[in-house]
């Protein structure tokens, strides 16, 4: 059983004295682990950094085996982003969220495509936080908990949708949301393709996706969201790219 694909390194863990077990996020095979012989050596270590794009050949006797990878670097995104603390926080959050939340060996091509765009934009802090929020919304959809932001859950209308019901994950218009006050989650316009994302919108978007990822996905397996995500939000806030509207 052999296959080849392009993908992104999500994580690398030392195995034995010279090998590493890595996880690669590919379009065709999803998040897939494998052993890299010599993965801790001088030649391979720079390649196996999270966020780097690689071409992998996977070999294994059976599909469900760990198998082993031979790989070649396509680009070293991590090296480009290392100097910038905000970009690095975004890269960490993106890779760790993918690794922790996405099931192994299941393909999610649209999610992979957005992942790829976010990684390519990580050096542009005016752009990537909004893309990241959209990616998390895509992650929810891929996991079967997609938000329905097309019409109001109460009135059926598609105008003035400013909130999301924490119970149903459906959009709610301002009038219908008013009686519930703070219980409703704010829906930033950019998530419906309306307008530019402000720092307040980024905060609201992260709160929205974070709420559903935590309560729908992680709660089921008795886990919380990775700390890298909280670190990224802290960094976005301290550098003015996200702001709590309250």
């Amino acid at each position: 059983m052999d296959w080849s694909a392009d993908g992104y390194i999500l994580s690398s863990r030392k195995h034995g004295e010279t090998s590493a077990i890595i996880e690669v996020f590919t379009r065709e095979k999803g998040r897939h682990p494998g052993l890299v012989r010599g993965g801790t050596g001088r030649r391979m270590r720079p390649v196996l950094q999270p966020g780097n794009r690689v071409t992998v050949d996977w070999h294994g006797r059976l599909e469900e085996h760990l198998g082993y990878y031979t790989l070649e670097a396509i680009d070293s995104r991590s090296a480009e982003l290392m100097d910038d603390r905000l970009s690095l926080a975004g890269l960490n959050a993106l890779c760790i969220m993918t690794r922790d939340l996405l099931p192994e060996r299941e393909a999610y091509p649209p999610l992979h495509d957005v992942f790829s765009i976010v990684v390519s934009q990580l050096d542009n802090p005016d752009v990537w936080p909004a893309l990241y929020v959209r990616w998390e919304a895509g992650l929810l959809a891929a996991l079967g908990y997609g938000l329905d932001l097309s019409t109001c859950a109460a009135t059926g209308g598609s105008e003035n949708l400013t909130h999301v019901s924490p119970r149903s994950g459906r959009a709610v218009c301002t009038e219908a949301a008013a009686p519930y006050g703070d219980k409703m989650l704010r829906l930033p316009g950019f998530m419906r393709g309306e307008g530019q994302a402000t720092p307040e919108d980024i905060w609201d978007g992260l709160r929205l996706t974070g709420y559903f990822l935590e309560t729908r996905v992680q709660w089921e397996v008795n886990r919380t969201l990775p700390e890298a995500r909280a670190t990224m939000i802290e960094r976005l806030t301290s550098e003015g790219f996200a702001a709590n509207p309250q």
Partner: protein
């Protein structure tokens, strides 16, 4: 190896040696045989040295280095520059810096890097002690000699954030072309880092 063909003492020696880095069961057997062949010249002095080290070596309460004295020899040397602290991940990095002889200040050993993957958090590392040392007043510069990996640089950024309040200068080692390195053989990441860190010539 069959338990019956080797005495329990030798078997124990082999199984302990096999736990050392670089040694598997086969090389551990070779090492055990080499020791057994030279008991006076090798085995007993080695046992004595290991006993001495286990008895006397401790971790320096100031910098985290390992030495027979506390504070360690480096911290206790008055001729070293105590206004500069070089932060390293592990004792092996400290030894590498000392071998190079390029630094005459003091060190601080973190004991690893922050890692979301392995669940290593700031409180698991020797970071609080570093911030306390940096805030003591005499320190003018902290040099972050962390590995050029995502975890290493994440740790460096975390430390930089926490040192901001102390007002000390924070610098880091350059990333780029190694001495004797040929561009043709360098990976893309190193070339990118070298290009970013270029300086007037």
């Amino acid at each position: 190896m069959s338990k019956h063909s080797v005495s329990p003492e030798i078997d124990r020696l082999i199984s302990l040696l096999a736990k050392l880095p670089g040694l598997g069961p086969r090389s551990a057997r070779r090492a055990a045989l080499a020791l057994l062949k030279k008991p006076e010249a090798l085995m007993k002095p080695l046992a004595l040295a290991m006993g001495d080290a286990a008895e006397n070596i401790s971790t320096c309460s100031t910098c985290g280095n390992v030495d027979a004295s506390n504070p360690c020899n480096i911290c206790a040397t008055p001729t070293r520059d105590n206004t500069t602290i070089c932060v390293v991940q592990d004792v092996s990095d400290l030894w590498a810096m000392e071998r190079a002889g390029a630094f005459r200040g003091q060190y601080h050993v973190l004991g690893g890097t922050l890692s979301a993957l392995d669940g290593v958090r700031p409180e698991d590392l020797n970071i609080a002690n570093l911030i306390r040392r940096a805030g003591e007043g005499r320190v003018a510069e902290v040099i972050l000699a962390m590995n050029a990996t995502v975890d290493g640089q994440t740790t460096a950024h975390y430390i930089t954030d926490h040192l901001e309040t102390t007002g000390v200068k924070v610098s880091r080692l350059a990333h780029g072309v190694p001495v004797g390195g040929e561009l043709d053989y360098l990976d893309d990441g190193t070339i990118t880092a070298a290009m970013k860190s270029r300086r007037p010539f």
